[in-house]
Symmetry: C2
Subunit: 238 residues, 2 copies
C-alpha cells in the first residue's frame, strides 16, 4: 500500500511546492475519503515531515480551499462554451453535480468557509450564464445565489451520504432509511414522508437534481427575465 519502490528510498528530488501538496491532498481525499487527510498521511505521501507543508500553505483549511478550487476550475474548463444560454447553464450545473459524484469531499469543503475560492468560480459562471439568459440585472445576484445555494445543499447531502455509506451500497442504505419512514410510530406523525418512502428508494439522484434546477430556472425565468407583464413579482432589492 505504501512505498512502491522501497529500495530507492531517496529524498524527494523535486522541491516541495503548494501545487504538489494540493495534488497529493486530492489524491488522498479521493482514494481514502475526508478523514484520511491528515498532515501525517500527507507528509508521508510527499516524503517529508508535517512541518514542511506549513512553509507553503498556512493550514489544513487552506489546503482544502485550494484543492476544491483546483477541481472546480478544472471541471469548468471542460464544459463546452459554444452552447446557448439555456443549455449552457444546465451543462454547468450538471458539471458541478458530476464533480461531487467523483469527489464527494468537495461537498463538505464548500460549506466550511463562506465565499471561498471555489464558490467564487461557481458564482461567476452561474451568474454570467444568467446574464446571457436575459435575467434583469437587479435579480442577478439573488438568482445566482439561489442556484448556488441549491447546489451547495445537494453537495453537502451527497458528501455526507458518501461518508456514511462508504461500505454499504447505496440502495441498501436508502432502503434502511425508507424502512425507518415506514416504522409505525414515525409514519403516524410523518404521513408525507411515509407516502414518499418508496420514491426515496427508487429515485435517481441526478434526475432529481436536474428537476430541481428546472424548477428554479422556471421560477427565475417567470419572475426575473424581462417580459411585458409578469404577474408574480418579488420585491426588487435596494
Amino acid at each position: 500500500m505504501t512505498s512502491p519502490t522501497p529500495a530507492r528510498r531517496s529524498r524527494r528530488t523535486d522541491a516541495l511546492s503548494a501545487d504538489a501538496i494540493i495534488d497529493a491532498a486530492i489524491a488522498v481525499l479521493d482514494a481514502e475519503g475526508e478523514e484520511a487527510l491528515t498532515f501525517r498521511a500527507l507528509s508521508a505521501a510527499l516524503e517529508t515531515g508535517p512541518g514542511a507543508i506549513y512553509h507553503h500553505l498556512a493550514s489544513k483549511q487552506e489546503i482544502l480551499v485550494a484543492a476544491a478550487q483546483r477541481l472546480v476550475v478544472d471541471v469548468l474548463a471542460e464544459v463546452p462554451s459554444d452552447l446557448d444560454a439555456e443549455n449552457g447553464i444546465r451543462e454547468v450545473m450538471l458539471a458541478f453535480f458530476d464533480l461531487f459524484g467523483a469527489h464527494p469531499w468537495v461537498g463538505t469543503q464548500l460549506s466550511r468557509e463562506p465565499w471561498q475560492a471555489a464558490l467564487l468560480e461557481m458564482f461567476e459562471v452561474i451568474g454570467s450564464h444568467l446574464d446571457a439568459l436575459g435575467v434583469e440585472e437587479r435579480y442577478q445576484f439573488t438568482a445566482a445565489s439561489s442556484l448556488l445555494n441549491f447546489v451547495l445543499g445537494v453537495a453537502g447531502q451527497h458528501a455526507s451520504a458518501t461518508r456514511l455509506a462508504r461500505d454499504l451500497d447505496r440502495s441498501a442504505f436508502l432502503r434502511d432509511i425508507a424502512d425507518g419512514w415506514k416504522d409505525e410510530a414515525t409514519a403516524a406523525s410523518h404521513p408525507f414522508s411515509r407516502q414518499m418512502a418508496d420514491q426515496l428508494t427508487q429515485h435517481d439522484d441526478r434526475q432529481q437534481y436536474i428537476d430541481g434546477i428546472d424548477f428554479i430556472l422556471a421560477g427565475i425565468t417567470a419572475v426575473a427575465v424581462d417580459s411585458p407583464a409578469s404577474n408574480r413579482a418579488i420585491e426588487s432589492p435596494s
Copy 2:
C-alpha cells in the same frame, strides 16, 4: 466563568439523562460556538465525567443529531397552523431561516449526516405544505427535496459565515470579500462577480432568502401544480 457557587460543590442531584445532556449541549453551542462543544466542556457543565455521557448517547454525532432535531421540532411547533397553503410554506421556510440565525451551528450539523432526524422533520412539513398547495403527487418528492436542498445550502453558508466572523462584524466581513472581488486580477477574470460586489455588501440575507424561495415556488407552481396546459414540462420520475 465556571463554578457559580463553589461553596456548595455538590454532586448532581437529578439523574443524568439524554434530555439533560442535549439541553446542556445546546447551551454550550449557542453560547460559545461549534468548536466549544467537547466532551470535557460538556461533562464539566453537567458536573460529571466524560464517560458518563456515553451511558446515554453513543457519540458526539448522536448528541448533535438530537440537538438539531430538538430545535427543529420546537421551532415548527411555534409556526401558526391556521395559514393557507401559500402563506404556510413561506412561514415554515422563514422559521428555518430564523432558526439558523439564532443557532448557526445547526447549519453545519444538518450537512453532517444524511437524512438525519432534523431533516425528516423539515422534509415532512415542507412536503405536506406542497401537497396542500396542489403540487401533483409525482412531483412532490422532487419539489420538497428542492426546497430542502436550498435551505440546507443557505444554512451551511450561514453557519460558516458565523464561524468565521464571530468577532468581525458582518458588514466589515462582507466588505473584505467585496474588495477581493474588486481586486484587479480577480475582476478581470470574474466580471460578473465584479459587477455584483456592491450588491454583496448591501444585500439583506433574509430578503434574498425570501426571494430565492419565491423563485423556487414560482417554478414549482408553474411546472407541478395541476393546470390544464403547462408549457414547461419536466420528466416525471418512474
